[in-house]
């Protein structure tokens, strides 16, 4: 009887330990790698005068602005009250200088998607979402007079360009 009881107990223990073993499953989540960048909505800070001028210069000339030119532009900026007006004047003076780096018309039209993507990264430090990209690409494709220079000018005088 004792022997039977012993076998019965061993059987019960075996059932408890081995019958409820959970099967391990290997899940595969199909998520692509993403590049994390700043979204337009989360730019809370306004660039100060020095930041705005020096970033604009670097964006257009691919090099840093000289100290004298930066000082003179900053003083001119302070000397007029309508800041959007003076910023527009600064950008258009930059665009008129030799040495400004702007893609050619053929580069833009050859791959408008890539041009728009690169322009967002250059000026807004982020990628456009699909809707933004579609809007700008569509505008470029349907506007015959548009040039890369005009696109650059639009970005540099937009509200988002004034923030970081």
């Amino acid at each position: 009887m004792k022997k039977h009881l012993k076998y019965f107990s061993l059987f019960i223990i075996a059932v408890v330990f081995f019958s409820c073993k959970k099967k391990e499953t290997d899940y595969i989540y199909d998520v692509n790698d993403v590049t994390v960048s700043q979204s337009g909505i989360s730019k809370p800070n306004v660039k100060n005068t020095i930041e705005f001028i020096s970033i604009a210069y670097s964006d257009l000339f691919g090099t840093t602005i000289g100290a004298t030119e930066l000082t003179e532009l900053s003083l001119c900026y302070l000397a007029f009250g309508d800041k959007k007006f003076i910023e527009d004047l600064i950008i258009r003076n930059f665009l008129n200088k030799t040495g400004v780096i702007i893609p050619t018309q053929s580069t833009m039209t050859a791959d408008v998607n890539a041009f728009v993507q690169a322009t967002y990264r250059k000026f807004y430090n982020r990628d456009p979402n699909e809707f933004e990209k579609w809007q700008i690409v569509n505008y470029i494709n349907t506007t015959s007079s548009i040039t890369p220079e005009l696109v650059y000018y639009s970005f540099m005088t937009s509200d988002e360009y004034r923030y970081y």
């Binding site: 337009g40 009250g81 309508d82 809007q135 639009s154």
Partner: protein
């Protein structure tokens, strides 16, 4: 009367009543969104407020202790002290003849500092001692009162602040008051920096786009701004001009750049390039702005006399130049169609100077003078010029009357919107200078 005619009569009366009410109400619903037009009657359609600043002491101005250093403004024998620049002598009557001169005006409260004095003059309110010179005034400026309460609302092209220097002064074109602010601010320009060779080098050759290109840019920018959802405007962006006004401003600035680079601004008054100083240049640009835009309200300052901290004789000389410049400004106003006989000019120092000198002696053996809150540094003058029949002419007030905080309400009264300024703001100001007007 049958029912048909009774009903027709009722309908007729009802329609007439509604039409009459509409006819009364419609003209008072204004573009600004306000229901009623300003109640005040204007004394003139333009005001130029010249801050004769930098610290002018009564001893050298009204009391003529060095002889008359302000012969264009005041009666009296011209000063002959050594060290003065040659300037043309006045040929007509002094300006005081054409208006009211408050000889004992006062800057009664607040630090006797330039920025504090400017704040008070432009806001019509005395400052507390903790004024932060790097921030806009906390009280609304005269520009904001004008643009918010004048009827009809006027664009920023009608309000100008023209400063002789940068530093804290660009911040005086609008306040941080939440009921006013940049939306009602004035155009600001500091000509000495902007209208210069350096200004031209920086901003004088902008890319010019065609109207079709501008339309394309506007199309993209609209998409970008809409998606961003946050407008760059208000305090950081400064004041806002209408697109059409911006085009006028660009034309004006471009023309000024060309004239300045061509050397036409080196001595535009023909007094000699060595004599023509920054105060004169500032008033010269004020004249240009007045001629170009005919603004209803323009404030301009001069501060050349502040050299008095170190060079007393140069202070006297700059006082003469400021006097000459003010007369030139008045002459330009009187020869400009649209401004002549419809402009009131008010000239007031922001504060005075001490009665006792400091220890710095100049080449002529004269001691310099500071402004540190002594009683005399609160003594100033006020000259009000305007059309005869509006301003009392040849009217000299020699008793202590009027103070710095009276200028803003006086401007509001001249332009007819004083009664529209809310009482809680009006309580911080002085009162219109009724003594100066017919």
């Amino acid at each position: 009367m049958c029912n048909y005619h009774k009903n027709s009569r009722r309908e007729f009366l009802k329609k007439v009543s509604l039409a009459s009410a509409g006819a009364f109400l419609a003209p008072t619903i204004l573009p600004s969104g306000r229901l009623f037009a300003a109640t005040g009657v204007r004394k003139a359609n333009h005001v130029v407020f010249c801050l004769f600043a930098g610290g002018v002491r009564q001893l050298e101005s009204m009391q003529q202790a060095e002889g008359n250093l302000m012969p264009y403004m005041l009666s009296g024998t011209q000063s002959t002290i050594p060290g003065l620049s040659p300037l043309p002598s006045p040929t007509g009557l002094p300006l005081q003849t054409y208006g009211t001169l408050f000889k004992e005006f006062r800057y009664n409260q607040g630090p006797t500092g330039h920025v504090s004095g400017h704040h008070t003059a432009i806001t019509g309110a005395y400052n507390a001692n903790d004024l932060n010179i790097n921030l806009p005034p906390t009280s609304p400026t005269v520009f904001e009162y004008y643009r918010k309460h004048n009827t009809p609302s006027m664009s920023a092209l009608n309000a100008w602040w023209i400063s002789d220097s940068l530093g804290p002064y660009p911040a005086l074109n609008f306040s941080s008051d939440s009921n006013y602010g940049a939306l009602y601010g004035a155009n600001f320009i500091q000509p000495r920096t902007l209208i210069s060779q350096a200004g031209y080098n920086s901003l004088g050759t902008p890319k010019v786009f065609t109207s079709s290109q501008k339309t394309s840019v506007a199309g993209i920018r609209t998409i970008l701004d809409k998606n961003f959802g946050k407008s760059y405007s208000g305090g950081d962006a400064g004041i806002v001009n209408l697109e059409a006004d911006r085009a006028s401003l660009e034309t004006y600035i471009s023309s000024s750049f060309n004239d300045a680079v061509a050397g036409m601004y080196n001595d535009p008054w023909g007094v000699g390039a060595a004599v023509f100083n920054d105060d004169m240049f500032n008033l010269f640009i004020a004249e240009k702005v007045l001629q170009q835009f005919k603004p209803e309200l323009l404030v301009v300052n001069m501060q050349g006399v502040d050299v008095c901290h170190f060079e007393y004789t140069m202070y006297c000389d700059n006082l003469r130049k400021a006097d000459y410049a003010l007369a030139h400004l008045w002459s330009t106003i009187q020869s400009t169609p649209g401004l002549a006989n419809d402009t009131i000019l008010i000239a007031v120092p922001e504060h005075g100077r001490n009665s006792t000198p400091n220890t710095v002696m100049d080449a002529y053996g004269r001691y310099a003078v500071d402004h540190t809150g002594e009683a005399m540094s609160r003594e100033i003058f006020c000259l009000v010029l305007g059309p005869a029949g509006v301003v009392k002419t040849n009217n000299i007030i020699s008793t202590v009357e009027g103070e710095s905080i009276d200028v803003v309400p006086t401007i509001a009264d001249i332009l007819g919107f004083y009664n529209d300024i809310p009482t809680n703001y009006k309580n911080n100001m002085g009162s219109p200078l009724a003594q100066a007007f017919v």
